[in-house]
Amino acid sequence: MTEAVPNRVIYGRTLVELGQGNPRIVVLDADVPKSTNTSQFREAFPDRFFNCGVAEQNMICIAAGFAASGKIAFASTFAVFASMRACEQVRTSVAYPRLNVKIVATNAGLDNAGDGVTHQGIEDLAIMRSIPNLTVLSPSDPVTTRKAVLAIAQREGPAYMRLGRNPSPVLYEENVEFEIGKMIPLRNGDDLAIIATGNMVHQALIAADSLAGQGIQARVLDCHTIKPVDKAAILDAARTTRGIITAEDHNVVGGLGGAVCEVLSELCPARVKRVGLKDCFATSARDYRELLAHFQMDAAAIQAAAYELCGSKSAHIPSRSSARRSTP
């Protein structure tokens, strides 16, 4: 598979794959199955699919009821509704009792360009991260999306996963190792580290290519698990590079950027630049790339952050690594 495919299409396919192998899988949707692609499961297993209508709170609690009865319940809608309309239900009926509900929310971030602010979930990672007992994922490409869906199905307990809307380029071979809580290094480099998630991983790679052309070697890490976040990878980046850039299709408050800052400041203070939506609402647009550029969340913005980090006159952080670091 080499062409770009929306990750949500892969989600739908993987649900069918799961449904074939496991009769305990049930899938619920809040009246957007064609968008979320739970429609694929509906076609394959109509008896195990439930469209709850435009009633997200009811849906999440029904999913909880299923899970309490021994099912593995997947519940889907747009990220903005899954995280907000049903926020308290996720917290109280799913996370608090640690029920086996997998909330897979699509059309996350500014990737949902046309619908505008009310449909662009730019806070969901911060929200879900703040809820105890919840695993939070944000895979970047079709290959890892499939692996992530399989992984959460296998892992007992509540999970939240966000997926975008548009086709995502394939970044990995099929045999890439995927483990919840472990970042995937996509590119080596010791001048700085770009820790990105979801759609922004691709942007990070574009930025890193460009930076390499100017002699700046950027490490790129795919942070597909926002919670539990890979502390070891973050600390290693802090110790062995000049600074870290985080990149997310999300508010710079509370999401990946917040998670990385939390790890660093307590254990290994380092310089961090957060690329993301700067605590504002976005707008509608015809094209996602337009929004990324306008709100300074694209590869160019990552590059600009890199120049700030590398151009700074601040002292280096003493390296604890004995590896030779390349200098620009």
């Binding site: 309309r85 007992n133 961090v272």
Partner: protein, 320 residues
């Protein structure tokens, strides 16, 4: 307007109710809505005196938030009330979609925040309300440290154009400021000077931090204590200024360590090199207990714990 900031009661809810009533008396645009908890949130004081400006919404927080949005569009200044866990969590979509995206002048009051509703247990104890509110663009988040600040916050909220969230504890809080102490939204306030450590605290934890600083002094460690009454917009320049030259920074909050004051301070200090340790609820739900104090003890929100965190921070220096 004649603002009465003095208060006989050190209960934040009582102080809140008194201030709201004063405000309602002087500003006819102020209306109050509640979700069947008005005697707990104290909005019943408005119901009693100005029944035409009080709306019992029943146990229907979402409807309350969206109705408040409508009232704001009609030129009113609505204050909506429930327990923090319900007003933030249950009405979240409405707060974001109806209120924040349109920057409406709705004031959201989260009562019995944190672990302060000790008996009812986890479903009633909000450990994540600040995280939820902080991530919303255009939201202001206030967390007063004593009854005087509660009253000042109420007046400040009414003057601010746009959505504001006020976090209130349930139980008495010792007076830490005075009626005359200035209160400015968006500005931190140093409560105690110090030279080695900076302790940023908010709400109920400011008293805890001050007590810890006194204990640290006995151990020859000088800690400054800063009251962060505005969690958003955080006074980032002030945070950096107070942190400069310190050997370490502690944050203390009756809230999850994820997404609240600690995270806000970390985000502000993201490019500095200073080690920070967050004291707060370690990503867990609450539970029932026979007293608030028991829960604070259980979750490590005590002066002793803050002292231990300070010592560990200074010992380990944050580098590993």
């Amino acid at each position: 307007m004649n603002r009465i900031i003095t208060t006989k009661s050190h209960n934040p809810r009582v102080a809140y109710g008194e201030a709201l009533l004063d405000l309602a008396a002087q500003n006819p645009k102020v209306v109050a809505l509640d979700a069947d908890l008005c005697k707990s949130t104290m909005s019943f004081l408005v119901e009693a005196k100005y029944p035409e400006r009080f709306f019992e919404m029943g146990i229907a927080e979402q409807n309350m938030a969206a109705t408040a949005a409508g009232l704001a569009l009609g030129g009113k200044i609505p204050f909506i009330h429930s327990f923090a866990v319900f007003v933030c969590g249950r009405a979240y979509d409405q707060i974001r979609q109806a209120i924040c995206t349109a920057r409406l002048n709705v004031k959201i009051v989260g009562s019995s925040a944190g672990l302060s509703d000790f008996g009812d247990g986890a479903t009633h104890q909000s450990v994540e309300d600040v995280a939820l509110m902080r991530v919303l663009p255009r939201m202001t988040v206030l967390s007063p440290c004593d009854a005087f600040e509660v009253k000042k916050a109420v007046w400040a909220m009414a003057e601010l154009e746009g959505p504001v969230y006020l976090r209130l504890s349930r139980n008495d809080m010792p007076p830490l400021t005075q009626a005359e102490t200035p209160f400015e939204v968006g500005k931190i306030q140093q409560m105690r000077a110090g030279t080695t450590l900076a302790i940023f605290a908010t709400g109920t934890m400011v008293a805890i931090a001050l007590e810890a600083a006194r204990k640290l002094e006995e151990l020859d460690l000088s800690a400054k204590v800063i009251n962060v009454a505005t969690l958003k917009p955080l006074d980032e320049a002030g945070v950096r200024r107070e942190s400069k030259g310190m050997q370490g920074v502690l944050t203390v909050e009756e809230h999850s360590v994820i997404g609240g004051l600690g995270s806000a301070v970390l985000e502000a200090l993201a490019s500095s090199r200073i080690p920070v340790q967050r004291v707060g609820i370690q990503d867990k739900f609450g539970m029932s207990a026979m007293s608030h104090g028991e829960l604070l003890e259980y979750f490590g929100l005590t002066p002793g714990r803050v002292v231990a965190a300070a010592q560990s921070l200074l010992r380990d220096g944050g580098a590993s």
